[in-house]
Amino acid sequence: MTEEKSMVRPTPHPTEISRPFWEAARHHKLVIQQCSACDAYVFYPRLSCPYCAGSDLTWTQVSGRGTVYSFTIARRATHRLLSDRVPYIIAVIELAEGPRMTSTVVGHDPHLVTVDAAVTVAFEDHPDVTLPVFELVQRS
C-alpha cells in the first residue's frame, strides 16, 4: 500500500559497508549479509560476522517475511520530521532468516498490530533513498 502523500523522514546516510543494502532497497529488494563460515544471516551490515568473526559475508536476497518481535505505538513525535505521522508504530521485526531489525508497520490501524504477527516487507520511496517497511500479512 503506497502512501497517498509523500511524507518526509530523517533518511539514512549509507556507509561503504551498508551501501549494497540501500542500493537493493532502491530496487525494492531486501538483501542482507550471510556469513560463509557459520551460515548465519547478519543485520545490520557489518565488516565481520558478529557471531563467529568470519570475514566472508555475502549479500543475499531474503524472503521479506518476518514476525513482529515487539512494537510500540509512538503517541508523540519522536523526531520533528515525523510529527505528521503520529501515532506511528516503531517495531522490531524478526526476519524469517533470523536477524532482527528496527522498522515500522504501515498500512493498518496501529491497534491491529500484535506481537508475533506475521509481516512482509514493503518499500517506501523517498527522493534519495528507499526505506524498507513492513505490512501485516493479510489472512485470505
Binding site: P12, T15, A74, T78, H79, A91, V92, T102, L131
Partner: protein, 392 residues
C-alpha cells in the same frame, strides 16, 4: 570477601528543571567540593578523577575537568556507559586504588539543563561540526526510534506478551517510590503525592508506558569520593565498603539485544554477588536504576530477587517503601527524584551510601548492612552492579 575500597564522601545537588547558566564544569565543581568536604578532605587531596562525556568539551574531558578544579591526578578517565556510568565508576576507582595508581578518587557526574535553550525536536549527540555515521542514525532514527522511551515500551510490550500484564504493579512501584520521595527534600517530586489511579490515567507516551512511568529529565550533579578500605575509617563519616562489583554490556540498540526480557543484568548482578559473598536475602536496600517502571521490574528479576516472570507477584507481595519489607529506591528513585542525565545513575549510589552511613534522615532503613546498587545504560544495554556494605 574483603573490600578493597570504600565510599567516604558524597555530594549531590537537588535536581532542577532549569540549571540556568550552569555548565557541566561548574556543576561538577560544586559536587566535587561538596563530596570532598563531606569526607573531611580538601580538593587538593584528590589524585584520581573519573568523569564522562560532556558538552563543555567534546574530547579530553578528564584533563579539562582536572584543570577546572585545579587538581593534579595520577589516574583520569571518562566513563561512557550512559546510566550505568556512575555505578561503573565505583569498581574502576577501586581498581585504580588497589593497583596503586591513586589514593583518593573522585567520581563525578554532572548535566546542566538550560530551559531557555531547549528547542523542540533537538537531538543530543554529535554537534553540527560532526556527521553522525552511527548504526543508530542509519537504522534506528529513520523509523523514529530516537530516544529511550520507545525502546523500553517495546521491552514492556514483549514482557507482557511473554508473562502477562504488569500495569498495576508498574503503577504501584511508581507510587511507592513517590512515597519514599516525600521524605527526601532534594527530590523533584518530594511534595507531590501520587496515586495508582493517577499513574494509570496519565497520558500514554508509547504503548504501554504512560507519562508517570517515565523519568522527568532535569539538570543536576552528584559525586562520590572513593578511598582504600584500609584507611576508610579515618574520615568524617562511616565508610560504605565496595564489597563486590559486576559489569556486562550486551548491545547498544534494542534490535540487537539477544533478548528483550532476559537482560545482561543477570551477568552483572551475579558477578557482584559472587565477588562479595553476600546473599540476595541479606540485602536490606535495593537502589536500582529506574528510568522507567519496567526497568526496575526487569532488574528485580534478572538480579535474582525473584524469578523470571515473577516481578509483578513480587511487587504485589512486598512493601517497597523505606520502612517496608523490601526497601527500594528510598530516595524516590529517579522516577520521583529526577533524572539529571548521567547523574541520575549516581543518585542510586549516593542514596545507598547515605543509608549505610545511617544518615538518611526521615527515611532511614533500620539495621541496614548491605545494599544492592545497580546502573543501567541505553536500552538495557550496559549494566553495572555493586554490593555496598557497612563492614569490610
Amino acid at each position: 570477601m574483603t573490600a578493597s575500597a570504600a565510599v567516604v564522601g558524597i555530594g549531590e545537588l537537588a535536581p532542577s528543571r532549569d540549571t540556568g547558566a550552569q555548565t557541566d564544569l561548574s556543576l561538577s565543581a560544586q559536587v566535587a567540593l561538596a563530596a570532598t568536604a563531606d569526607a573531611g578532605l580538601e580538593l587538593t587531596d584528590v589524585d584520581g578523577l573519573l568523569t564522562h562525556p560532556m558538552e563543555s568539551a567534546s574530547r579530553l574531558v578528564p584533563s579539562t575537568l582536572a584543570e577546572f578544579l585545579g587538581i593534579q591526578v595520577s589516574y583520569a578517565d571518562s566513563v561512557d556507559l550512559g546510566g550505568a556510568t556512575a555505578v561503573g565508576m565505583l569498581w574502576r576507582a577501586a581498581s585504580a586504588i588497589a593497583s596503586g595508581m591513586c589514593s583518593v578518587c573522585l567520581c563525578i557526574t554532572a548535566a546542566p539543563r538550560d530551559a531557555s535553550a531547549l528547542r523542540p525536536g533537538a537531538l543530543r549527540g554529535p554537534t553540527r561540526r560532526t556527521v553522525d555515521r552511527s548504526p543508530a542514525r542509519e537504522f534506528e532514527v529513520p523509523y523514529g526510534n530516537v530516544g529511550a522511551t520507545e525502546g523500553y515500551a517495546m521491552i514492556a510490550t514483549r514482557y507482557e506478551h511473554e508473562f502477562g500484564s504488569t500495569e498495576r504493579q508498574r503503577a504501584k512501584l511508581a507510587v511507592q517510590q513517590r512515597r519514599n520521595a516525600s521524605e527526601n527534600p532534594k527530590a523533584v517530586f518530594s511534595n507531590v503525592p501520587l496515586s495508582e489511579q493517577e499513574v494509570l490515567q496519565s497520558p500514554m507516551i508509547a504503548d504501554p508506558l504512560r507519562k508517570l512511568e517515565c523519568v522527568l529529565p532535569v539538570g543536576g550533579a552528584a559525586a562520590v569520593v572513593v578511598v582504600d578500605a584500609n584507611v576508610a575509617g579515618r574520615f568524617a563519616h562511616p565508610p560504605a565498603f565496595v564489597l563486590g562489583a559486576g559489569e556486562a554490556v550486551s548491545h547498544k540498540a534494542i534490535s540487537s539485544a539477544p533478548s528483550m526480557t532476559r537482560t545482561a543484568v543477570q551477568r552483572s548482578a551475579d558477578a557482584a554477588f559472587a565477588m562479595s559473598g553476600v546473599q540476595r536475602s541479606e540485602i536490606g536496600l535495593a537502589s536500582i536504576y529506574d528510568c522507567y517502571t519496567i526497568t526496575a521490574l526487569l532488574t528485580l528479576e534478572d538480579a535474582g530477587f525473584c524469578g523470571k516472570g515473577e516481578a509483578a507477584t513480587f511487587i504485589d507481595e512486598h512493601d517497597l517503601t523505606w520502612s517496608g519489607s523490601f526497601p527500594l529506591n528510598t530516595h524516590g528513585g529517579q522516577l520521583s527524584f529526577g533524572q539529571a542525565d548521567v547523574a541520575g545513575g549516581m543518585s542510586h549510589v549516593t542514596e545507598a551510601v547515605l543509608q549505610l552511613q545511617g544518615r538518611a534522615v526521615g527515611r532511614q532503613v533500620q539495621g541496614l548492612q548491605y545494599a544492592f546498587v545497580h546502573g543501567n545504560g541505553g536500552i538495557m544495554s550496559e549494566q553495572t552492579s555493586a554490593i555496598l556494605g557497612v563492614e569490610v
